[in-house]
């Protein structure tokens, strides 16, 4: 069964450093999402891509976060500089289309900022 791949699974970084996460969606899925899940809370959408275009980044802290999906396939989420409050699980999901199509989630990247 096809799955959403994410790497790394765990990342420890010092504050003010740069960090990047990678996501490879299920093959053929046009829509890709990045979520942040703080411990004890539900996931919160950071950015949504339709193919290579951003369709929603209203919750993305653009002063330090950036996301790209250059060829409309895999995607990278970057934080620079990292802050203590960025410690969280970063989840990637993909769906065949936007709208009511089911979102499939990857295992996530657990980020710890020290």
């Amino acid at each position: 069964e096809a799955e959403v791949a994410q790497s790394p699974r765990y990342k420890i970084t010092e504050k003010s450093q740069a960090v990047a996460f990678w996501c490879d969606p299920i093959s053929g899925h046009a829509t890709l999402y990045w979520y942040r899940q703080i411990l004890g809370q539900g996931p919160e959408l950071l950015v949504q891509f339709q193919d290579e275009s951003v369709v929603d980044d209203s919750q993305l802290p653009k002063d330090r976060f950036s996301a790209e999906r250059l060829k409309g396939v895999d995607s990278t989420l970057k934080i620079q500089p990292a802050e203590l409050g960025d410690s969280a699980m970063y989840l990637c999901a993909s769906s065949a289309t936007s709208g009511t199509s089911e979102q499939y989630f990857g295992p996530g990247t657990r980020l710890t900022v020290t």
Binding site: G40, G42, P43, E44, L91, A93, S98, F105, G108
Partner: protein
């Protein structure tokens, strides 16, 4: 604005007992509703969803949920839990015009007593 409330942070039930996890939503129109499960260290898996039609929805792993518009609720039920059901459960709502933007509740952690 849409919102989801899961009033129970943590529930413990005995193996073989019945389960009901509560979820209340706030949304003006007919919502799209979801229940996801997250096992430790893993991404989210969709258990079931309600878009329209029959208000009693059957999902995977023996779960079901009932949409009650008058109570703004979408409670998750299972007649007999198994030890493997121990996980975090998230209720979520999406708007009709942009159903890809999902708002998650804060989750309910389910523990199973042997």
């Amino acid at each position: 604005a849409q919102s989801v409330t899961q009033p129970d942070i943590h529930i413990t039930v005995s193996e073989g007992a019945s389960l009901e996890l509560r979820c209340n939503y706030s949304y003006g129109a007919t919502p799209y509703l979801f229940w996801y499960v997250q096992s430790p260290g893993q991404g989210l898996q969709l258990l079931l969803k309600y878009f329209s039609g029959d208000t009693l929805v059957q999902g995977i792993k023996g779960f079901e949920a009932e949409f009650k518009r008058s109570q703004s609720s979408f409670n998750l039920r299972k007649p007999s839990v198994h030890w493997s059901d121990a996980a975090e459960y998230f209720c979520a709502v999406a708007s009709g015009s942009s159903a890809s933007k999902i708002i998650f509740g804060s989750g309910t952690r389910l523990s199973i007593r042997p």
